[in-house]
Amino acid sequence: MPLLAFLVLLAGSCLASFAVIYYTLVTNQSTNRPDYFRLRSEFFETEFPMSWFAVTWVNKNETTGSIGEAVIASTNLFAALALRVYDEGAARSYLAENRLTDPFSVVVFEANRLYNWSLQDNSNATLTFVENGTTSVSGYEAVFSRVLIKGGIKQEEAFYNLTSMFIVFRAQQRLAEIVSWGKEEDWRLAQETFKAILGLTKV
C-alpha cells in the first residue's frame, strides 16, 4: 500500500509537471505558425521556433534608461539571433557614449565590435562588408549590413568563418538592433528561420 502510494505520487508529479509544460506550450503558441512560440515583452513582440532555445531580459537603469533584450539560438546549428531595443533614454545614452549619429553608424560600430572580439582569439581574422542596404522591419525602414569575418570563430582549436547580419532602425524614439550570427555554413542553413523571425518581429 505505501509502495503503491509512492509510485502513484511519483507518476502523478511527472504527469502534473508535463501538464504545466503543455499548458505553457499551448497558451504561448503562435497563431501564425503552430511550430513557433510567441514571445512578448514591454519592448518587442517576436516569434521563434519551438525547438530553438531563447532567453529574454531587461536591463533597467534609472539614469540611462532601459534595454529589452532577447537571444534566440538554434539547438543543432552554431547560429543565433539577438534582439535589443533601447528605450528613448537608453538610445540617447548609447548613441552619445559611442559618438554615433544614425542607424548606419550603429551597424558599422557593432560590426567592428564583433570583429574586435574575433581578433582576441585570432589576430589574423579579417572583416569584409559583404552586403549593405535597407529593408523593412516592423513597418520601419532599417539599415542592414552582412559581414564575413574570416577565421572569426574558434571552436575546438579550429577557426571558422563567421557570418553576421546587423539590422538597425529607429522605432519612433526607440532604437532597435537585430543581429544574427553563426558559422558561415550554419548561418546559411538558419537563414530562412532568421527571415521568418524578422518578419514576425514587432517593436
Binding site: 505505501p2 509512492f6 509537471s17 504545466v20 505553457t24 519551438m50 530553438w52 531563447a54 539547438t75
Partner: protein
C-alpha cells in the same frame, strides 16, 4: 519513546536521504531540460515562471520523494518500533543537510526567490517519502497489530471476570 538505536538508524536514514538528493538534484534539473530538447520544445524554457513551477513539481517526485523513500526504507528495515515518530527524522535531516549545502556552496538568496521549489516541496517530499518508505516494509506488521488488538482486549475482559 524512541530508543537510542532507533534514533541512530533514523540519522543514518537521513544521511541516505541527503546523499541520494545530492546525487539526483543536478541530474533531475538536467533531465527535464534534456527531455524538452528531445521533444523539440526547448524554447518553452523561456517562459521562466511557468517552467519553474513545472521543475518544482518534477523534482518533488523524482528527487525529494524518492530520496525520502530510500531513507525511510532503511529505517523501516532496521526497526519497526515507534515508526510514527522516527520516520519524520530522516526527511528532516536530509532536507536540512541539503539546505545547508546549497547555502554554503551556492547563493542563499535562491531560497527567497523560489520558496516552493527550494523549501516547501523538498521538505514535504522528504517527509512524505520517508513515511512511505518506512511503512512499505512494515505495513503488514501494522495491519496485523490492528487485527490482533480486539482479541487481546477480549482476553483481558474475560480474565477480569
Amino acid at each position: 519513546m524512541p530508543e537510542r538505536g532507533d534514533l541512530l538508524h533514523a540519522a543514518i536514514g537521513g544521511g541516505i536521504c541527503f546523499l541520494t538528493m545530492a546525487v539526483l538534484v543536478d541530474i533531475g534539473q538536467i533531465a527535464l531540460e534534456q527531455i524538452l530538447s528531445t521533444l523539440g520544445i526547448a524554447g518553452v524554457m523561456v517562459f521562466h515562471d511557468q517552467i519553474l513551477i513545472a521543475k518544482a513539481i518534477f523534482t518533488f517526485g523524482l528527487i525529494f520523494l524518492t530520496s525520502g523513500f530510500l531513507g525511510g526504507l532503511y529505517v523501516g528495515y532496521q526497526t519497526d518500533e515507534n515508526l510514527r515518530t522516527i520516520l519524520a527524522i530522516p526527511g528532516v535531516i536530509g532536507f536540512v543537510a541539503l539546505t545547508v549545502l546549497i547555502a554554503v556552496l551556492g547563493n542563499p538568496s535562491v531560497f527567497y526567490s523560489d520558496i516552493l521549489g527550494r523549501i516547501v516541496f523538498p521538505l514535504f517530499g522528504n517527509i512524505v517519502g520517508s513515511y512511505l518508505g518506512g511503512y512499505t516494509l512494515n505495513w503488514s506488521t501494522e495491519e496485523e497489530e490492528e487485527e490482533e488488538l480486539p482479541s487481546t482486549q477480549k482476553l483481558s475482559l474475560d480474565l477480569g471476570k
